[in-house]
Symmetry: C2
Subunit: 152 residues, 2 copies
């Protein structure tokens, strides 16, 4: 099983943060959506179903608090808004298709020493998963090679 809303709430409390209705609602949505890629606005829409009064700035401030407590990260897949990721789910990187936006989760163990060693050679330690690794998915790559292969 995955992180439950109450785990998130407990962690908030443990970090000296207050448990408000808005935060409870946000934690619930986060726990329930652990396998999705939600933007702040997506999150607001879902939170509003339970607590209609919540404002987007509360979403951002709560995300900031949760991120500060190490409970989640935000990830940039490409242009546009960042998405939210529970920290338990940061065991994978993201492959992101620059053309169609498709993403593929890339288990960190699979990333293995290869990229890490390469980065280390330049004095870098590979960061978390804050930015995706961009490329083209199969479909878009094919389209890019022969754009009108099958066309009239």
């Amino acid at each position: 099983m995955h992180v439950r809303a109450q785990d998130l709430e407990a962690a908030l409390a443990a970090n000296g943060l207050r448990l408000t209705a808005a935060r409870r609602a946000i934690c619930r949505v986060l726990a329930r959506s652990h396998d999705q890629h939600l933007t702040a606005t997506d999150l607001l829409r879902k939170v509003k179903r339970a607590s209609p009064g919540v404002n987007l700035s509360t979403i951002y401030r709560t995300l900031e608090a949760l991120e500060g407590a190490g409970l989640l990260h935000h990830v940039h897949l490409g242009h546009g808004p960042g998405i939210v990721h529970l920290s338990e789910a940061t065991d994978h990187h993201h492959l992101y298709c620059e053309r169609c936006g498709k993403t593929v989760d890339l288990p960190l163990p699979e990333l293995g020493p290869s990229l890490r060693r390469l980065a280390a050679r330049h004095g870098f330690r590979l960061g978390g998963v804050h930015f995706a690794i961009a490329g083209l998915c199969q479909a878009c790559a094919a389209e890019s090679d022969g754009p009108t292969k099958l066309g009239p």
Copy 2:
């Protein structure tokens, strides 16, 4: 030697685009700054030294035209504005320090088969250099491990 301004101008013309004073100035700055990481605003500042009247929207529109003609790409290192890269210089990827913003160029051959093969296993072709690979540079990684190691 690297791409010259007149090469860029010729390529513009070859793509049916008009050669205006603003575009000439932009091409000159781009050619001269091929080894730098310029944002649109940086570019404007430099262009204005030769052509004071030029507007930021002209910069964006010209970059769009040049990008459409395959002459340059824009790259996102992290949060904040994108930077501009002549296509001839897209033979390297970027390592980007999430903390201090330092970047290191990573020759594509050095990226080697490792990451490429990993991406291929998921049906992806590693894209250009549109987004950087994020991590922590040596200094920031050290600081992150022992924040107050040397402090008072």
